[in-house]
């Protein structure tokens, strides 16, 4: 028999920690944005994202992509640490012990509340050691210059560092489809670096993402 009394303990019935209205707080007089644990947040205007792409392109040329990926990795590393600390504090259990359902939903809500659009996971390839991540309405895709390849370099960096932190292994992340190229969503594959090695060239050749995933699974 299910005992509701056991479910009513604060840690079990923990609710939605990253709910936008509760998570983001502002003080107009001090010009500050904070999250509910008191950490500072920064608001990034579209113009800054555009300027980042343009400035890096001008200063570093082809290396702009690598700079953005590395920025994303730093960002993702710290993001994972904060996400882990906040969720551990909220649920009272280590992240690894959190039910997958609660973990996934919290990350989805966290993504929304930080203004990064929406995120979802396709579990079809998980058993073969690959994560397929989908995002929508990414501000980094929306403000990127038009290229003939996926442009969410920052997102790719964030996801590679986040999943590396989560699994304790060094993982790479490559983007397969991009909203800026008219795709229905941004798709990223996360896996071991050596396994993803052939992906880059195939993405640049604009191969179909399903075909790329299929060949990765068969490798």
């Amino acid at each position: 028999m299910i005992s509701v009394a056991d479910l009513l303990t604060p840690k079990v019935a923990a609710g939605n920690y990253f709910a936008t209205n509760t998570y983001v707080r502002s003080d107009a007089e001090l010009g500050l944005l904070e999250n509910r644990s008191g950490s500072r947040l920064i608001a990034i205007p579209d113009t800054l994202i555009k300027a980042l792409y343009a400035g890096l392109e001008q200063e570093t040329g082809l290396a702009a992509r690598l700079v953005l990926i590395n920025c994303g990795r730093w960002w993702g590393k710290n993001f994972y640490q904060r996400f882990s600390e906040e969720l551990t504090g909220h649920y009272g259990v280590p992240l690894a012990s959190l039910p997958m359902v609660d973990f996934l939903q919290s990350l989805q809500q966290c993504w929304v509340s930080h203004g990064w659009g929406q995120i979802d996971f396709d579990p079809s390839y998980a058993e073969r050691g690959l994560f397929l991540v989908k995002t929508w309405n990414s501000p980094f895709a929306a403000q990127a210059p038009q290229m003939d390849r996926p442009v969410c370099f920052m997102d790719a960096g964030i996801l590679s560092a986040f999943f590396s932190g989560l699994t304790g292994k060094s993982l790479d992340c490559l983007q397969l489809t991009c909203e800026s190229l008219g795709a229905d969503c941004n798709r990223f594959v996360v896996g071991l670096e050596e396994r993803l090695e052939p992906v880059e060239a195939r993405v640049e050749a604009q191969e179909d993402w399903e075909a790329i995933m299929q060949s990765l699974v068969e490798r």
């Binding site: 028999m1 299910i2 005992s3 509701v4 009394a5 479910l7 009513l8 079990v12 019935a13 609710g15 939605n16 709910a19 936008t20 209205n21 509760t22 039910p99 359902v101 996934l104 939903q105 989805q108 809500q109 929304v112």
Partner: protein
């Protein structure tokens, strides 16, 4: 945004119109009832939810305990959010929880269990609250029922 906050936004520019004062008066007069409903739900949370859990276990004999508990945890959040929204008469404060429930349903394919859970919670509230009190609470419970019923 809370509907009453619209009244105060322009308080340095104008006085409230008759219709606005009436609205504010109606809310103020309803406040003792809202407090009574809120207090009753708060004090009887366990008594109210245990029959919901029992009803779900009976109706969903083949379902996993984890799936039922997941819906019950959502039910707890929904009941608490709805009670607060009713107290402050702020339907927009349900938005975050509605998104949370919708996302949970998409991730876990849990429309059926959620639908049953919210239906049983409604039944319990209908049985335990005075009819007029239940009527006051209903608009804040219904969006969750509709969400799971429409998705199912």
């Amino acid at each position: 945004m809370h509907p009453l906050s619209d009244f105060f936004r322009e308080s340095d520019k104008r006085y409230l119109a008759q219709a606005e004062l009436k609205l504010l008066g109606r809310y103020t007069l309803s406040l003792p009832h809202r407090l009574a409903i809120y207090r009753q739900i708060r004090d009887q949370e366990l008594v109210l939810l245990q029959p919901v859990a029992d009803g779900m276990e009976t109706a969903l004999a083949g379902a996993s305990v984890t799936a039922i508990e997941q819906s019950l945890k959502l039910g707890i959040a929904v009941l608490r959010t709805s009670a607060m929204a009713m107290l402050t008469n702020d339907i927009s404060s349900l938005d975050d929880t509605l998104r949370w429930v919708r996302q949970s349903q998409e991730n876990n394919d849990s429309q059926k269990t959620n639908e049953l859970c919210f239906k049983l919670i409604r039944q319990q509230l209908e049985q335990r609250l005075e009819a007029a009190h239940f009527k006051l609470l209903l608009p804040f419970i219904e969006p969750f029922q509709e969400l799971s019923a429409n998705a199912a």
